[in-house]
């Protein structure tokens, strides 16, 4: 077989297996046959074209034509002339089928049913891979680049499945590519001439065994590393080996985003892993709600941000305007330092309301009504910034005395006309005893926080009017629905209201720093009171949010609010910053997490790290001891097997001690060389002599008798020998015992063997063919002879 043919063949096979990962995307597997035939046709065309010395690009063109013809047979056979010849109606059919296919691809989620259209895409894709591989490997002799089309099948599958693809799909294309590289190297080496050795020349191959073996070893190790290392890397959920795990409510990868706040809210709350979002530290060293965006418009379906242009004049570098409605004299300022984690990104800047100054890199602009800060080019992963917000001291009495809202915010009571009756009825019902705005709001909040409602994150998301009606009927939902409902009811009652999305204060990490994580994401209503401005309410039950803010509770009926301690209604608190939530209150953090209070966590982390390191350090020795234990157990009571176990053990000990072990030498000469190399005392030397003679006896004597305490003696010798060695050597024996080298060599050897077998399969088949041919020929000859006589 010529080198060209060999390369073509191996390339074709590699291309064939490289499309196998696409099986993951389809419901049935029957397309593989048709796609495979397309690949065979394409490769064969390329080969014939090269044989005829057709220029490379022309050959590629021929392959395209053949591919198109085959596709025509598959999807437009009924239109073909004489059943096989392309007809003029084919192009129309092609366009129709591909359009269908594109539609199917966008419509169905994987795995998809193999419709005509999808089949067409699969066949064309597979054929193109075969063509590119053939062109690069056999045509242009750039085998390395053929890896790119070979990876296409796997990459496409991985991309469509969102990385959620079994690691084993990686193996076929990788092995195919390795086989191509090996073949190409052999071809290249053969250009130096043929080996004079008989064995090689009879196979018609250059003698490249040592070279090929090395290549295979490197390849095998690389493949093992590629598949194996991600399995043990810390990011387990995204490792190849974890297979089809993950999924569920998790986003892709670890990064969490808030682009569409309402949609992201439940997803982030449902993420299996609680990803760090940011850390902040306030100058008053207390906890604050961190707001990212305000949803101030309700269209009957969803709460969303109203249309608000942010011109260049509203850049945060120049400071922010005073918060609307606030009419207090010189409220105190709180300085915040934010540090955003690498895993969080958002268009909106997390801040405590109302921010007045912000020091941050980049083009960030504010909205005058909501004081939301937004950027067109968000990249806040890992950034740090500082902000100054106002501390607004307010109490329930102030709010109760607030006048009617300013006309500026009057449109923030707008509601759609077709609000379900249950919403309005309940709003009236709950607030029937309240006269002023604040009392109504407090009544609503108290009702939501009451025992009738259950916090349940698994509820279907949604804030549409009907979804809210369901929520009010079932009395079961999560913060988004609590906030939205309360805001709608407040608007119905004439209080300007909106929904804020952000985070609960997070957990206290010590040193004034709070850590906010994805599970802390939250939504709450903000109600407008003249003179105070937008004020935070907390209708979500205490199980999630802790105590209600003090200013939101009417002084006279504070006690039955919920089980939490009665708030001190006389104290003044910030209505916007949630200042009452103290770090030491364990109800502070919502969701699934319990806070670790003020205890710093780093000593624990250090201990854990030490434990892990210790375990890792012990692992090799543990494995080696396990191998030893297993060896002795397998040996049982059989004297020969026990002697063999003792000898194997001895070989490891000697190598652990840093001496060479000649596997080709007799036990006696091994014993002699060990005694000579190590400075053994008489007792150890006698012990070694004993172990040697036990092995000799077991191997070569007529009958091996049982040897008492062989295992103990072997162990004793191990200790005695290692004791004579320097500490460095003993440490090495501890960290990487010879036993593990053997195990590794065994595994690598097996893999190499398998690869050898795969590679020599062609030769074996040829040899078999030859034998068969000779047999047939001699049989024919005999028959002819018989006929002749």
């Amino acid at each position: 077989m010529s080198s060209h043919t060999r390369l073509t063949l191996v390339g074709g096979l590699a291309a064939l297996v490289s499309v196998l990962p696409l099986l993951e995307l389809t419901l049935e597997a029957s397309w593989v046959l048709r796609a495979g035939l397309a690949m065979i046709l394409v490769t064969a065309t390329g080969h014939v074209a090269r044989r005829l010395r057709v220029p490379v690009l022309l050959a590629a063109l021929a392959q395209l034509v053949v591919l198109a013809w085959w596709l025509g047979l598959l999807i437009a056979a009924d239109l073909a002339w004489f059943g096989v010849l392309p007809s003029t109606t084919w192009p129309d059919r092609f366009v129709a089928v591909f359009t269908d296919g594109a539609e199917a691809i966008t419509t169905f989620s994987t795995p998809v049913p193999v419709t005509q259209g999808i089949l067409a895409y699969l066949v064309v894709g597979a054929g193109s891979i075969a063509m590119l591989v053939d062109l690069l490997a056999a045509g242009l002799r750039r085998v390395v680049f053929a890896g790119v089309p070979l990876a296409a099948g796997y990459t496409a599958t991985a991309a469509i499945e969102g990385g959620d693809i079994g690691w084993w799909w990686f193996v076929p294309p990788a092995v195919g590519f390795l086989a191509m590289l090996i073949t190409e190297s052999r071809v290249r080496v053969s250009a130096w001439g043929r080996s004079a050795s008989r064995a090689a020349s009879s196979r018609g191959l250059p003698e490249t065994d040592a070279l090929a073996r090395n290549g295979r070893r490197v390849g095998a190790m690389a493949l093992i590393a590629a598949v194996g290392i991600p399995a043990f890397a810390p990011v387990l959920s995204d490792g190849l080996v974890s297979g089809r795990g993950g999924g569920g409510g998790g986003g892709d990868g670890r990064t969490i985003r808030t682009d569409n706040p309402i949609l992201d809210l439940q997803r982030n709350l449902n993420r299996p892993d609680n990803v760090d979002v940011l850390r902040y530290r306030a100058s008053d060293e207390s906890a604050h709600y961190i707001r990212i965006v305000t949803l101030d418009s309700f269209d009957g379906e969803v709460w969303q941000t109203s249309d608000r242009p942010v011109p260049e004049s509203q850049r945060v570098v120049d400071g922010l305007p005073p918060p609307p409605g606030l009419d207090l004299d010189d409220p105190p300022e709180i300085e915040f330092q934010f540090s955003v984690s690498e895993d969080y990104n958002s268009r909106w800047l997390p801040l405590a309301y109302p921010a007045q100054e912000i020091d941050i890199q980049g083009d960030w602009r504010y909205d005058t009504d909501t004081l939301d800060v937004v950027s067109t080019d968000p990249s806040i992963e890992g950034t740090e910034y500082t902000a100054v917000s106002l501390e607004i001291s307010v109490d329930a009495a102030t709010l109760q005395e607030a006048g009617p809202p300013d006309s500026d915010v009057a449109d923030l009571t707008e509601l759609p006309d077709d609000l379900p009756d249950i919403v309005t009825d309940l709003a009236d019902e709950v607030t029937k005893d309240a006269d002023d705005h604040f009392s109504k709001a407090a009544a609503l909040q108290q009702w939501f926080r009451g025992p009738e409602f259950t916090y349940d994150i698994s509820t279907q998301p949604g804030t549409s009017a009907t979804a809210l009606a369901d929520f009010l009927t079932d009395r079961r939902g999560y913060c988004e629905q609590f906030a939205a409902s309360m805001a709608i009811m407040a608007r119905y009652l004439g209080i300007p209201a909106r929904v804020a999305v952000g985070f609960t204060p997070g957990i206290f990490e010590g040193d004034g720093t709070y850590l906010v994580r994805s599970h802390d994401m939250h939504a709450w209503p903000e109600l407008y009171f003249e003179g105070v401005g937008w004020t935070l309410f907390e209708p979500t039950p205490a199980g999630r949010t802790g105590t209600a803010p003090t200013w939101t509770v009417l002084p006279q009926d504070s006690a039955p609010d919920d089980e939490s301690p009665a708030p001190d209604s006389t104290s003044t608190s910030s209505p916007t910053g949630g200042q009452d939530v103290r770090p030491d209150e364990d109800s502070l953090v919502g969701g699934t997490d319990t806070t670790s209070g003020g205890t710093p966590t780093w000593p624990l982390a250090v201990i854990a790290a030490l434990v892990v390191l210790g375990a890792l350090a012990w692992l090799p020795l543990g494995l080696a001891r396990w191998r030893s234990w297993h060896r002795w157990r397998r040996a049982g009571e059989d004297p020969e097997a026990m002697a063999a176990a003792s000898w194997a053990e001895l070989s490891e000990v000697v190598r652990d001690a840093g001496f060479s072990w000649d596997t080709a030498a007799t036990p006696r000469s091994v014993g002699r060389s060990v005694s000579a190399a190590a400075t053994l005392d008489d007792e150890s030397a006698r012990l070694l002599g004993h172990l040697v003679s036990v092995t000799e006896h077991a191997r070569y004597a007529r009958r091996a008798g049982p040897v008492p305490e062989l295992r103990e003696d072997t162990e004793l010798f191990r200790q005695r020998l290692l004791r004579t060695r320097p500490v460095k050597r003993r440490l090495r024996a501890f960290l990487w015992p010879a036993s593990l080298s053997d195990a590794r060599a065994g595994v690598v050897g097996k893999i190499s063997e398998v690869l050898d077998r795969v590679e020599s399969a062609g030769d074996r088949i040829r040899a078999w063919e030859q034998r068969f041919a000779i047999r047939t020929r001699s049989a024919t000859a005999r028959n002819t002879d018989a006929d002749g006589t």
Partner: protein, 342 residues
């Protein structure tokens, strides 16, 4: 001398009965080792500073083989042969080979007895337990082959009558490799019949000085008293025959001789008889060590002495100053040692 031959006898007693290993007790070799020790001491009193050579000679004796001592004149070849013969109380004949020696001088001849009017067989020099054939390469090929046939067959046929030879029967032949004039070197086929070829080598300086002191006036040979007799030797040889050779060791011996046949450095490899001799010698070597089973080490130790005189290096190897002994020791290093029972 190749590396495996440099066997340190001092290490032997320690390993003779391994500590804690229950001896399989198939054979009681104490008598044999004791006798061998006595022989070694006796012969060592005559041939000084050559314990390895004496040990090899004893191995051949117990293995029922024949010994070819090849070295320059005056290093004690004949002395070793004679003292070996003298140490055993048995019949000894010495044949001095010369160009005019006739085959019948070796085998014997039928003489017509005038009185009884019958042919009467007069046994030749070969009818003895130990035959010392001195300077064997000086005899004509005809005479040489007469001896060599006796060695192989252990019987003599004269005028149609077959006369068996006594057991033990051992031929110790010496030859001088230097002198070429008027010699008839043994052909390969005939060298093959000797179990071991031994080169004495020069004694060390101290040994040579001591030799002057002790043997200045007389040789120790005169004072040598037999330490055993033929009947006892027959019994011990029987013991040696039943030393156990495991399949692994047999395979190893075959692999080793097989390797000489395929080695590119040799134009003639060892014969199957060589394999046989190798294993038999190894049995005796093991028995002398007090073991009733053969180790690969025994095979390795004896590969040089048993195989080297049977093989012929190629011209290229000779140009490369490679002699048969070094080729064999290389092969010993190359052929893998069996792990145990197959």
């Amino acid at each position: 001398m190749p590396e495996p031959l440099a066997h340190d006898p001092a290490s032997r007693p320690a390993a003779a009965v391994p500590v804690g290993v229950p001896h399989s007790g198939e054979l009681d070799l104490a008598d044999l080792t004791e006798t061998a020790d006595r022989l070694q001491t006796a012969i060592g009193g005559v041939v000084e500073g050559k314990p390895e050579s004496i040990e090899l000679a004893l191995t051949v004796l117990f293995a029922e083989g024949h010994l070819l001592i090849e070295d320059v004149p005056g290093v004690g070849k004949t002395m070793l042969a004679k003292s070996l013969a003298r140490a055993i109380d048995c019949s000894v004949r010495r044949i001095q080979f010369t160009p005019d020696l006739m085959p019948s001088d070796v085998t014997g001849v039928s003489v017509f007895n005038q009185e009884s009017r019958e042919f009467e067989f007069k046994p030749g020099g070969v009818f003895a337990n130990v035959v010392v054939g001195d300077e064997i390469n000086r005899a004509s090929p005809k005479t040489q082959s007469a001896l060599l046939e006796c060695m192989e067959e252990r019987q003599v046929t004269v005028d149609g009558t077959t006369y068996p030879l006594d057991t033990p029967f051992m031929v110790v032949a010496t030859q001088n490799p230097i002198e070429m004039e008027g010699t008839y070197p043994l052909p390969e086929a005939q060298r093959d019949r000797f179990m071991v070829r031994l080169a004495m080598g020069y004694p060390s300086v101290s040994d040579e000085i001591q030799m002057i002191d002790t043997h200045g006036a007389h040789t120790g040979l005169d004072a040598l008293e037999p330490v055993t007799d033929a009947a006892h030797m027959r019994k011990l040889i029987g013991l040696v025959r039943s030393v156990y050779v495991s399949d692994a060791v047999k395979n190893y011996a075959v692999a080793l001789t097989g390797a000489t046949r395929t080695s590119p450095e040799l134009r003639l490899g060892a014969s199957p008889r060589a394999t046989l001799h190798l294993v038999r010698a190894a049995k005796a070597w093991a028995a002398l060590d007090g073991r009733d089973y053969v180790l690969p080490d025994d095979i390795q130790a004896l590969a040089g002495p048993v195989l080297a005189h049977r093989i012929l290096p190629t011209a290229e190897a000779q140009i490369g100053r490679r002699d048969a002994v070094s080729v064999v020791s290389d092969l010993v290093r190359q052929v893998p040692v069996p792990e145990g029972r197959p």
